[in-house]
Structure formats: C-alpha cells, structure tokens
C-alpha cells in the first residue's frame, strides 16, 4: 500500500494495513450487531460496530490487541457501546497479556449524542488504559486521521506510553471551531488552517515533545512506528511524574503569555521556525530540541 494516504483509509483499512497480513481476529464484529441504544431516539442511524473495531492480531510476529476508531461515524465520538468495547479490550489485555495494546485513535471525544453515557465511558477507558500501563504492557496511540484526536480522547491518548502522529494529524483538547465559537475568531480563527496545524498538528506536537514519533501520512510509516513502539514502556513512578511535572512547568514558563507557535519553537531552540510548516516529516524530525524529550530534560 505504498504511496497510499493513511488519512484517506477507513478505520478497518488502516487496521488491516498496520498488522501482519490476515492476522486480525475481530471481537464483537459487525455481525454481532452490538449497536448504540441511544441513537435511534435522535433519528441517527447506528453503526454495526458502533464506530470501533476491536480484536487481536500479530504485529511483526508479536501478539497485540488493537482497536481502530472510525472517524467518519459520529466524528469518532465515544458512546456507551464504543467505550465499553475499548474497556473490554483493555481489561482483556490485563488477563491475556499481549505484547502491546494499540489504538488507531480518531475521535472528537465524548459522543455528544450520548452525553452522560459517553462522558463516563471515556473515563472508564482512561482508567482501564492506565491499568494496562501499570501492568507493564506497552500502550500505543496512532493518530493519523483527518478528524484528529480531541476532547476526552485527546486526554486518554496522552495517557499511553507512545503517541505516534503523522504531520497532517492533530491532537488537542478543544477544536478551533469550539474555541472560536466561545471566544471569537480573534482568539482562534478556525479557518486559518496554517494556524490550526501549527497550534495542534503533528509537527508542533513533535517539536514541543507532546508526541513520541512523527511519521508521514503513510500506512507503512505508521506500521514501522507501531513496531518500534512495542519496545517502549515508561513506568509511571513518582519520579517519572515529577520529571513530567517539571518539564511541563518549564515549557509553560518558557512560553510566557504567548500563544504563537513560531515564538515557542524558537524559544525551545528550533532553528528557522518559520520554515517548519513547509518542511516534510523527515526534515521536521531532525529539528526536535533535546530539551523536550522526557529523559533529556534536565529541568528537575
């Protein structure tokens, strides 16, 4: 599938492209019809898999559990069933101990059409993910869809050991439309795509240390990054979280009151910040300041 865009594939196509050919075994497949009990009342069609495919597969010969969120269905939002499928997958990982749990994350966060049920579900996913991490199983988030990873899922994704992003992906909390709607275009002009991507996109997250791998929009690149992530497990000890606290504090102090990516990149030590948006992933990868990687940070 070389040359294909990862972002343009459906969730199921991405999943198939990522794992070893023909090894994906799906749990609660579409034919099981485990659908949302809450959508019909709103006149919205259900999806047979409630927007997420889960199961196990092999990745470079290693057994993994994997889930793929379909961003085209309800914006990838997490509803009661969708969330429960992810929780089930994570709890099963505690029992069966695969080499890793991977999530192809594309989501707006809580599925608003299921409001309260979605909010609780996202929290259950977060708790279950942290249990898997605490058990010493590698957890990997792969963010490469056009809708990005936002809201409660944006928080959940950053709880994993490894976050892989493509340069065209976004990972954040609130989308630019929500911020513009609340605070005005002066605060955040949602139509300024360049601004949106340098505020929340893969290159920015890579340069500032908020993602752990930056790849091209290419299934093969995601697969390679996923394989590499099998070996990455970061224990959440008190010392590790204290270092994280210090790193994030240092970074916010460096930014001051500013909200401009170019200024922040420059302060972090990125040369020729203004050129970054036009560079490809390869070139941006080389420019990450050592100070933003957890192990390299000396600001204790």
């Amino acid at each position: 599938m070389n040359g294909a865009s990862f972002a343009e594939l459906s969730a199921r196509e991405r999943l198939a492209a990522l794992v070893d050919a023909g090894t994906f075994e799906e749990w609660l497949p579409p034919s099981a019809r485990v659908t949302s009990p809450h959508l019909a009342q709103l006149g919205v069609p259900a999806a047979f898999d409630d927007g997420v495919a889960i199961g196990r597969a092999a990745l470079a010969g290693r057994p993994v559990f994997i889930a793929a969120q379909e961003g085209e269905f309800m914006g990838g939002g997490v509803g009661e069933v969708h969330g429960a499928k992810l929780v089930g997958l994570l709890r099963r990982a505690l029992r069966d101990r695969p080499a890793a749990v991977l999530l192809l994350a594309e989501s707006g966060g809580v599925r608003l059409h299921e409001a309260n049920a979605g909010l609780i579900a996202v929290s259950e996913v977060m708790r279950a993910l942290l249990d898997v991490r605490a058990a010493g199983i590698a957890t990997v988030m792969l963010i490469g869809g056009a809708n990005g990873c936002f809201g409660g899922m944006g928080i959940v994704a950053r709880c994993a050991d490894t976050v892989v992003m493509s340069d065209i992906a976004r990972h954040a909390m609130s989308g630019p439309e929500v911020i513009e709607s609340a605070q005005g275009a002066g605060e955040f002009d949602a139509r300024d795509r360049a601004l949106v991507w340098r505020t929340t996109g893969g290159k920015h997250r890579w340069l500032t240390g908020d993602c752990d791998a930056l790849v091209e929009d290419d299934p093969a690149a995601f697969r390679a990054a996923a394989v590499a992530a099998l070996a990455v497990h970061r224990s959440m000890t008190l010392a590790a979280l204290q270092r994280e606290s210090a790193l994030l504090q240092w970074r916010t102090e460096l930014a001051g009151e500013g909200a401009d990516a170019f200024a922040l990149w420059t302060r972090l030590g990125v040369a020729d910040a203004r050129a970054v948006p036009d560079l490809d992933a390869d070139a941006v990868r080389a420019r990450r300041p050592a100070a933003v990687t957890p192990l390299a940070n000396g600001a204790a």
Partner: protein, 106 residues
C-alpha cells in the same frame, strides 16, 4: 424532528453463493451507508434498511431490485444503515460488498 425509517424487502430467485463470512462495506456518515451481507438459509435475498432519509421507499425498491437483477444472488441477508446516500452510492456499496465476498474466497 424526523426519526429513522425501516424498510424491508425480499427478492426471490437467484443462485446461492458458496458459504462466506459476514462482510461489511461502507461507513455510516452523511451521504453514505454501511452494508452488512451475511449468508442466510433458504432461497432469495432479504434486504433490511434503516435510514435517516425518510420517504424514499419506492427508490429503495428500485435500487435494490436492480441489485438483485444484476447479481442474481440467493441465500443472502443484507442489512443497511443509511444516512442519505444517493442511489448511485447505494448501488456502489452493494457491488463492493459482492466483490469483497468474491475476493475473500480462497
């Protein structure tokens, strides 16, 4: 506020496919649909549609009859979740499902 509409169709005749695994194509999104095709006992082809675009019964009838006439398959249960796809997109997804079943055969 319009709710969902459920439509049910049955077409007789046709030749049965060799056994196949449940096959899904498409995505539930605006202007799109997902189609789940499963092997079903008996003859004929059953198609169940849940759609958010109400009032298009006769058009569904025409599109689905055309699908049955073109492929002539029996022993099928087709389930559709539709969000306002055009007849062309519906036909495309149905054809994609049949192609996917054929491709999966060893």
């Amino acid at each position: 506020m319009a709710g969902m509409e459920s439509l049910h169709f049955r077409f007789d005749g046709g030749r049965a496919l060799a056994p196949f695994a449940p096959t899904l194509v498409g995505v539930v999104a605006s202007g799109n649909l997902e189609v789940l095709v499963e092997a079903a006992p008996g003859t004929g082809c059953r198609i169940d549609v849940d759609t958010s675009a109400r009032g298009f019964g006769p058009i569904w009838e025409a599109v689905l009859r055309d699908f049955h006439d073109r492929h002539g398959l029996a022993g099928l249960a087709v389930a559709i979740h539709d969000m306002g796809a055009t007849p062309a997109v519906v036909s495309l997804r149905l054809d994609q499902a049949v192609a996917a079943i054929a491709e999966a055969r060893p």
